[in-house]
Assembly symmetry: C2
Amino acid sequence: MPVDGVRLLHDLHALREFGRYKTGVHRPTYSPQDVHSRHWLATRMAEAGLEASIDGIGNVIGRGRGDGPVLLLGSHSETQSHAGWLDGALGVIYGLEVARTLGRGVDVVAWADEEGHFGSFLGSRSFCGLVDDAELDAARSRENDTRLRDALQAAGFAGQPRATIDPARYRGYLEAHIEQGQELEISGRRIGVVTAIVGSRQFRIVFEGVQNHAGTTRMKNRRDAGVALVRLASAIDRRFPEVAGPLTVWTTGRITLAPGAPSIVPGHAEMLFQFRDTDPVLLDVLEQELEALVAEAAKGPCRVSLVRGSRTAPRPMDEGFQSALEGAAQRHVPGLHMRMPSGAGHDAQILASRIPAGMLFVPSIGGISHHWAEDTAEADIVLGCEVFCDAAAQILSRAC
Amino acid sequence: MPVDGVRLLHDLHALREFGRYKTGVHRPTYSPQDVHSRHWLATRMAEAGLEASIDGIGNVIGRGRGDGPVLLLGSHSETQSHAGWLDGALGVIYGLEVARTLGRGVDVVAWADEEGHFGSFLGSRSFCGLVDDAELDAARSRENDTRLRDALQAAGFAGQPRATIDPARYRGYLEAHIEQGQELEISGRRIGVVTAIVGSRQFRIVFEGVQNHAGTTRMKNRRDAGVALVRLASAIDRRFPEVAGPLTVWTTGRITLAPGAPSIVPGHAEMLFQFRDTDPVLLDVLEQELEALVAEAAKGPCRVSLVRGSRTAPRPMDEGFQSALEGAAQRHVPGLHMRMPSGAGHDAQILASRIPAGMLFVPSIGGISHHWAEDTAEADIVLGCEVFCDAAAQILSRAC
């Protein structure tokens, strides 16, 4: 039973209108446009025959009919600020379209705040029982410091209970998403089957030297925190390629020298550094390597300290789901699919802690992501949904 | 005729009370405390027998008696924000004390805005005919964006003419200042005779890459502006020591990665870089070296551009004045003095464009500068003034 490509694209375009910005969308979690879009999604789910509701954290959940365990399909529906129209939305509307196509055995979900305006993966973590009231009490908007509790009140979600997973109900969770990278495009593939979602480790590296006048302080008398930082960053740049795996990524996203004036030798410097890989053993090796480079840097004239920030474990996707997605892709576009890790985080990594999970990627034009220009060819959008639906049907047929 | 150390210290302490902050001073140019201190200085100059006035830019000028060409002695009297009590003030009160001690042949000046709250060397450049009305119209406070014209009006200086130099009147200009570095302290010397004020060249180096998701963008596909910056900064760090002179200094004072988020590959990066030396040929060599390193960096995946900022030429101090200061130092503290360049800029470099100029340094405790904790031992303050007065007397005796 084929999906309806026209209906699929129509719903994606309709969802884009909630907070449209140029060709993209500005729909932060719990903004009026986000709230409107969630009610619209609940209505569309109900029209698809699902029992739809919005829970106390803003998750829109449509329960389908089905005797045996069902598949949970979806993604998040809010966006980053002034960002793309498909990031999240694609997976939600795929779920809706598969529910309409198969008619049974499918629950559909639009998670709240995967993008982290108030936290991170707030909706899917709440559903998996990983968010307590204390976190909700403390959370505030990263943009305007609004309290999460106030935002939920204003959105009209505060009075509802938060839905929680019944693992016995579910065969597993499937999520479709744009790749957000350029691997598919560069290699000419049209479908990515996600093998694992990478684990990431974040660090703040702090350098303490002595602030001085840049004209009167001789080079030999300096303890320049900026120079110490550049030397460590350069050592990482030389050493990491020797130790990393073929798909490891590492990034220095921010560098700050203080006081940051042209004629002052920096007395303080900081860098934000992170790396990601799907292999937990390799993540440990990389962290040991970083520790060794920091220890080497600390032999210089500045104090260097490594502050560990947030870290996530790699999450392998279910092998059976990978095979089902790959088999479906092979039927639709033989040879034009590939297995690949996800370098970005997704709600699927949260769900994977409770039930089997799988992910499908469609190509991102130019790899553009978190920008209003983000896009995917319409043919790829429709193909992705066909493969996704086919894989879901196959998994459900095996389960029953 | 010896200087009066008690009177000297009394006046320095009295001047500190205008805007006192902890053991230092907060006296930005044209602040109420700066205006009060300038009127106080004019009064002290008049009490010393000088014909005192405040000109249209805030320079306090006390004209002394004398038949032949006179010496102009002084420094600036405003301070950096929350900074030291002697930076500038020392040279002004030395001038006053020498005028009182010698009784004739000396003009004393307290320049306005050497510290650059509204420009740079505003008072001494005005006096040397290097500031036009257009500059005054355009200038604004770097702290609060107040227009210079409004600040002069509020200060009560706007109605006055700006004094300009009559080179025929002057034998030359002598300025005393704290060293602001640690050379004297580390080498156990008590007097520095300045050979030249360094020239400086400032640059902004801009890197343009492609902003991307730090999780989904493979290393081989990145054009990371931050990595390009670190590589160039590291190349400078390795190469400059091979080319620089023994007293060259170079500094990266600021690094910015944009957008500066932990999970985004920086698409844009900038660094502020400068170097200083007294040798104009060496400054050219260093600039060529920097150009070569930038050209090498531009072979990588990012665009790199070198934007030239402000530059000052090295200013040698008058040979005769150096000898007079050195001779005086040798009489007071045999062997405990040294010739040295000034790594910081001073009003003397402006005056040197019109008349012979010389500078004397006293030690800075711990080399601390532009900080309220800046200080100099009282014995060094008094000794410095004795040497300064002795040298001035010798120059004047030669001139007459």
